[in-house]
Amino acid sequence: MTFLETVAASRDHLSVGVVGVFIGLWIFLLTATGVGQVLRVTKPGKTITKVNQIIRAWWVIAGFFTAVMWLGPTAMVLFMGFVSYLALKEFYSLVPTRRADRRALFWSYGAILVQYFAISQDWFILFLLYIPLYHLLMGPMRLVVRGRTEHFVRSSSTIHWGLMLAVFNLSHVAYLMVLPMDGNPNGGGPGMVLYLIILTELNDVAQFIWGKSFGKHKVAPSVSPNKTWEGLLGGLGTTSVLSMIIAPVLTPMTTLQAFGLGLSLSMLGFVGDVVMSAVKRDMQVKDSSSLIPGHGGVLDRVDSLSYTAPVAFYFFYFQFYA
């Protein structure tokens, strides 16, 4: 047995492809760190200091991610539940809320438990319906009971929007992880999660690098002045090519499917990014918090994932599991 096969055989949920891509990921991070340190000496400046800070935080994120993937589906459900909690807390601290909203906000945090419990039990219908339907119907009722009607519309809308972005959408990453091996013999749930995370995050990085290197024409000047057409198109190209390379190792997709999904995820990641930028601009803050040095808050890091995760999930689900 090769090294990859030995490692993969030691964990039921990990395939050779997943282990191989993980090793590739760490080599990539190591290379980025090396380049960052060389540039620090040859071209010192503010930009490279900031980039190296971002790379350092990536080590921590990649470390957590690797550990969770190694531990398996239960760890992923708990981990994503925690990420949802942190993202939701940042969202609710950002948007305007009223004293009368406190009970409804508390219920929203409770929705995290329901959502991730449904995933852990593989209750697909509850997972699908709880936040978009049941909580949508009953959440505003908690505000009605409280009785304050001034800004009622604003509160009930923002509270539910936060739940959709930070909990419902992100929870699809966890559900992807618990899907059985038979729909995806190449990597099972972990293979699809790894595919989704790599494409989403590297798309962010690719858009940033293309934009920094060749960016001239602003794509959304009033919302996000750093976003350019060059970055967007560069990201689309890089991500769709990368998708075609890693898809056969991690998923059962054909090359054409991989190209299409790569293109979609790249576009969606961009949309998630600028939508959250608009929220922050409205609230007149730069980052949703300062938890991750160089990256901002958790919400800043997962805004694109919140848009890519559900779309990737339903594509995989209906193609290979329905």
């Binding site: 601290s93 009970r103 906000l105 918090s289």
Partner: protein, 231 residues
């Protein structure tokens, strides 16, 4: 003043380690995970004593937030002033606040005969702590008062600083605890706190004018933050 009792818990004892563990396992996760801090001016925080940390006061959690804000390595140097009439009633709360939180009890209320206590006597535990090189958290409003409203600072801060002109005074403005846990409500709803740490300053001029400059500094931090009225 130098024969004042050593503030509890003493340094480097099992009780001190228990306190370190209590903050690491209970308080810091509460402050950083259940709540969450957005801090401006982190570089102004004192790392070693003696120092006086002066902040606005809205909630009992203020003390725990400030103690978690400073480096965990300097926890053994940290003491926070607290009202003796509130916390020093016999029982487990007294033991916990003295030994686990590490408060300096201050006698705000008149003595048994109803006589006003001289200010030097009231502040004696703080003088002693500063002389021993500790970092003391002090709330110059003297009470929690109305939620999210800054009250006029009492004169105690001026007396204190006049006796220790070499001790840096670090002004801090905190906002948001009233949203996470308003007074009179016992449901804690997770919410970020905004904290502004101002530049350290040292005593100069008259006690009363110095109190006013510190109060002005904190008021300015409040308006810089652009706190919106909450209702």
């Amino acid at each position: 003043m130098s024969d004042a009792p050593v503030p509890r818990p003493p340094l480097h004892t099992p009780l001190g380690w228990l306190r370190w563990l209590f903050f690491a396992v209970v308080i810091r996760p509460l402050v950083y995970v259940v709540l969450g801090l957005n801090v401006r001016g982190h570089e102004h925080l004192p790392e070693k004593g003696p120092a006086l940390v002066v902040a606005n006061h809205n909630s009992h959690l203020d003390t725990l937030v400030l103690m978690s804000l400073l480096s965990h390595q300097s926890l053994h140097l940290l003491r926070a002033t607290a009202a003796a009439d509130y916390f020093m009633k016999p029982g487990w709360l007294r033991w916990a606040t003295l030994n686990l939180v590490g408060i300096l009890p201050i006698q705000r209320k008149p003595g048994p005969g109803g006589e006003r206590r001289p200010v030097e006597e009231v502040l004696a535990p703080i003088h002693a702590a500063l002389e021993q090189g500790l970092i003391v958290i002090f709330f110059p409003e003297g009470t929690r008062g109305e939620p999210e409203k800054l009250q006029r600072f009492k004169s105690g801060l001026g007396h204190l600083c006049a006796s220790h002109p070499e001790v840096p005074v670090v002004p801090i403005y905190m906002h948001g605890l009233g949203k996470a846990l308003p007074r009179g409500d016992n449901l804690l709803v997770p919410h970020f706190l905004d904290i502004v740490v101002g530049e350290p300053r040292r005593f100069a001029g008259e006690p009363r004018t110095f109190v006013e400059t510190v109060q002005d500094a904190i008021t300015e931090m409040e308006s810089d933050l652009g706190v919106e009225p909450w209702d």
